[in-house]
Amino acid sequence: MQKDKFFRDIDNVTHPNERLVKTHCSYCGMQCGMNLRVNTKTNKIIGVEPRYDWPVTVGKMCPKGVTAYQQTNHKDRILKPLIRDDASLKGTQKGFREASWDEAYDLIAKKFSELQTNYGKDSLSVFSGVSMTNEKCYLTGKFARVALGTRYIDYNGRFCMASAAGGFLRTFGVDRGSTLPWTDIHETDCLFIAGSNTAECHPTSMFRVWAVQERGGYLIVADPRETPIARRADVHLDLRPGTDLALANGILHLLIKNGYTDEAFIKQHTNGFEETKEVVKDLTPEHTSFITGVSVEKIERAAEIYGKAPNAIVMFARGVEQQHKGVDNVSAYCNMALVTGKIGRPKAGVATFTGQGNGQGGREHGQKSDLLPGYRKITDPKAVEYVSKVWGISPEEMPKPGVSAYEMFELMNDKTIRGLYLLCSNPAVSAPNLNVVRKALKGLDFMVCADFFLSESAEFADVVLPSVTWSEDEGTVTNLEGRIIKINKAQEPLGESKPDWQIQVELAERLGKGKHFSHLHTASDVADEFRLASKGGNADYYGATWDKIDKQDGVFWPCKDEEDEGTPHMFHDKKFYHPDEKAKICALPYRPPAEEPDEEYPMRLTTGRVVYHYLSGNQTRRIPFLKDMCPEPYVEVHPHTAAQYNIQHDEVVRLYTRRGESNYKVKITEAIREDTVFVPYHFGHEESINLLTIAALDPMSRMPEYKVCAAQVEKLN
């Protein structure tokens, strides 16, 4: 299936005393196929071998993927539960002692019960993540609502995919990250990529991107920096951070004005065109150029290429989504595909580059404060009734919607939330405005953290539970295409570590909720219940059995039953998921970033990834090769700006905003706008750029505006 021109039948090399376990990478949404090399005598993972027969990535891996296996038996693994008796040491690595699981569970059950008795059910919270399997994500939602009975659950997808989700839901009525499989990308005629540093963040997409250009197709990239992908773009739209909505509206203006619209498609399959036309009327190339800083010629050329392209794919990522108008940006870029009818057929559509391994699946099945499995709304009585039945509770017992990730920290600071169970996330590095977040964690009455390394967030915990890495458990994840794939177990859990689902089952039993959890003995048991819970929802996984996933090289949701092979191409029948089956072209007036530069803070600060690190760096900063390649953060400054500040390459400067400050080594490069500085966000403690970022939240997705705020640079001594 889906064997394209990049696919080759290649034998794998198996060394003596080794076996290969087929699986996928632990990191980003690409979920590159890989084989883990396991020593047959020690039964330990010792290396990696390409997985040439995985149709999406055909053996390719980025440096994170190649070295991912080094996490499993890493010397920093937490091997036993840790308890800290002296709460004054919170925020440091000090004071932990090893304990038995029994002692840790007893302490957690006692403290959680005390808090709920004294302050109510909702005094507890769960903060989760999506770098783990669907089975774990699903059970975490159930654990919060059934075992703890709290409304306060949310997850790090709010810092990652929430705006893409919000935009897709509004525009299409369904949130599947890509309307087409990745194997279409190299066959399209034009890629319009906005706010994605693809070469560093999703490197294994690049051979398909370059193939478009090799065929004579076009690459248009919108990014404030000349990233490795922008360097080779036919048009690089070098916009000011935070002005995407103006750019997208400006391009829409030209598509309409120059007759590139598909009137029949607009009429039959969309709503909202006339209002939108009115809104973008003023976004002439000159006005768009004034707001975005991109030249009129480039804007006109980009619109002409996209308009003329027989097939085109609009793609975007956190650059456009991590803004306080991220949802609007997503819908505005989707407008381009809708007015030109370039969607709902092979080689044409829209896609977001999912940041985390299971960023897609993890947001669909009930870790979000307002969602239940199958992408059901917790405010929908029918959804509550169905899921309650699967969970064996009465609908009245189902907690109400909670609040978004960042808002949970605010509730911790005002003592509404007093206890936290944190897993699969490191918000002490990854959340915005960290001074507020770290204060919230420190002030908690009781905090549990499950992780396989002692993260910066674990440093605030009273109890740390050792969870397993991805390679010591099995289950499914949903990659950036919307393809459900299988992660396989290659090694037994190291030390006394346990999979998160097992921890939750055992903890639920201690909390007296065993009857809802005790039947779950394996990841496969969780999978069966999870598929049933998703049945009938928009994100229907019922038919995606592990057997079918194995046989078909993955299953694209929705997949409703045993016979259903899944849905690689969305909207093939031109039917969208709104009740009238039409997509919504959205009229979205431009609004500037929450914090514009001024005299005191004249620079625009933007943040992002480097190719060597993943998210908060809790995993990748421990891998020697990756650490060697990028040991510390830095601030990228244009040489003209550096001259104004009289600062040199490699000089350490103070960077500060209204919220915080840090010192960074200067990296001078012409590949950034003169009005913008960039710092990678993978670093902890005083190196975290999120000490400086702003927590201006999108009104719909509650996504913080990581991608732009006002900053100042100061030369030291």
């Binding site: 290649i10 090399v13 190649v66 560093e200 051979f207 090799e214 360097r231």
Partner: protein
């Protein structure tokens, strides 16, 4: 069996250095990477390029070796020095026009790319080309390489991205930056 060669398309490089990480994964490489990726002009742009052993047909490293420690495999791969023969003189590191052989100060031994000979002898791509996310490093047949090189030779006496060889004839083939110059646009 079809005989394939390593082919470098330098324009494609995105600087991820996955090739270096993967190099350590070849069973015979003792966890040490054997090639290089350079930032071409780091203060100006993000262009990068790999510098891999080109496996010369008449390799200067082997010719300069007084101990005949550097053997040439029947596939044309120029192997790493035999540890029992290498005398650590470093002649090879000086002789190589591309600066490929590395020197292990502790063991007093040279080591270099052997084109993952335990893979490529069976026509399995070397680790670097297997993982390369941007197709900068590819494992291609003679015909595929010929087709690529013709496509990139504009025949206008101005810009030729593929030359027969650089310093001398090599088993690894290269397309220099500029591969898109001759592309005919679709529309």
């Amino acid at each position: 069996m079809t005989k394939r060669r390593l082919f470098l398309e330098l324009e494609n490089c995105i600087g991820c250095r996955s090739c270096l990480a993967a190099c350590t994964q070849c069973g015979g490489h003792e966890q040490r990477n054997r090639n290089y990726v350079y930032d071409v002009n780091p203060l100006v742009n993000r262009q990068t390029m790999p510098l891999m052993c080109l496996h010369c047909v008449d390799p200067a490293c082997a010719r300069s070796c007084p101990a005949q420690a550097i053997q040439i495999h029947e596939t044309g791969a120029v192997l790493s020095a035999l540890t029992e023969k290498c005398i650590g003189c470093q002649n090879c590191t000086i002789a190589c026009p591309y600066g490929i052989p590395k020197f292990d100060e502790e063991q007093n031994l040279m080591y270099k790319c052997d084109l993952c000979i335990d893979r490529t002898k069976d026509d399995i791509p070397p680790m670097c080309a297997s993982v390369c996310p941007s197709n900068t490093l590819q494992w291609l047949t003679e015909e595929e390489i010929e087709e690529k090189q013709q496509r990139h030779d504009l025949g206008n006496d101005k810009w030729v991205t593929s030359m027969p060889y650089l310093e001398g004839e090599t088993n690894v083939k290269i397309n220099l930056p500029g591969i898109l110059e001759g592309t005919t646009k679709l529309f």
